[in-house]
Symmetry: C2
Subunit: 199 residues, 2 copies
């Protein structure tokens, strides 16, 4: 089956065809350099100890992106889901060995492209470069925002903020993972939820 037939989430097409105005030929060329990767639930898309040389668009499913802290505990940074891009961003740019684990929480479909192919396409399709600058700006503001939240908000307010702005996370992701994402002990999160719901 061709890769086109797999794109269940029309956002990928909308993104490049409509928002960035690629013509059919450009979009076909772009798409032909992506490879479909199916990652069954609980399997890993990425592990540390090697250099990250690809990035991937999340076409379907949800993952957890985590690192291991000094005491050996998992610390979840992000929950990439549909319309996100995943990679060990530091390793991808520095060329150094990565530190990030990316594991499927649901059965996932990723569209993956190599760094070499992406760079080659950026030269051939200027609109791709324009899109990437916008995306990197968003990524910078998102990482900044998470960093600010962790420095300024109480655990309770980080929880309420997540509940308000990303309610879908609570439908799709186990609570112990959400606790790690929020930097809260799982027991504290349970207590907080009981307290807020009034039980």
């Amino acid at each position: 089956m061709s890769i086109e037939a797999h794109i269940v989430d029309p956002k990928f097409t909308t993104l490049f065809r409509d928002t960035f105005g690629m013509n059919e030929q450009e979009f076909e060329m772009l798409l032909s350099h992506f490879e479909l990767k199916k990652i069954p639930k609980k399997e890993f898309y990425l592990k540390p100890a090697k250099v990250c040389r690809h990035k991937a668009y999340v076409n379907k499913g949800c993952l957890r992106n985590y690192v291991i802290d000094e005491l050996g505990h998992e610390r979840i940074l992000f929950f990439p889901m549909e319309d996100w891009w995943v990679a060990d961003i530091d390793s991808y740019y520095s060329g150094e060995v990565g530190t990030n684990f990316i594991q499927a929480i649901e059965d996932c479909e990723l569209l993956e492209i190599s760094k070499e192919n992406f760079q080659m396409l950026e030269k051939k399709i200027p609109k791709l470069g324009q899109w990437y600058a916008v995306k990197m700006t968003r990524r910078a503001t998102t990482a900044n925002k998470r960093f600010e939240e962790l420095k300024t908000m109480s655990p309770k307010d980080r929880y309420l903020d997540l509940l308000k702005n990303k309610p879908e996370i609570f439908q799709r992701i186990p609570l112990q993972y959400i606790a790690s994402y929020l930097n809260i002990e799982p027991q504290s999160l349970s207590r907080l939820r009981k307290q807020i719901s009034g039980h």
Copy 2:
């Protein structure tokens, strides 16, 4: 005096002329849209409660970029110094009211450009857009790294990491600010320093 005469740090010129290969005409056009701002020590370049519509290159000096947490405490995010760019990045892109304070720790010289002028120049000088994509990528990886550090490293190791990788910070910045940057109580930082130096 012209703005050129003020550029004491040759990195600004090197950046655009050499690294991104702008010709003389392009560089002159770029430079003519920057405005020199002198910020005396302890004064503010930016305060919250309005939308951030400019960004500025740090030509000389050192600042602290902080936010106020829920309990009213200052929380330092970054120490911008020579060759950094400063702005309330979320506000700059979202158009919403900002949350960041940026205050001079030393007498500072900033080269400021408005968002409108920058966007206009990006269209006229494609190399500016190329530079900006690289810069935003670096900004994303930096913010990501700080976020990861805060989630995974002990206060002691964050301190040792800073001492190793940015020793100049300890020459230029008061210790109570460094404590806030590291998310450590000032007393704990003093204790840590004594412990490490063996006294």
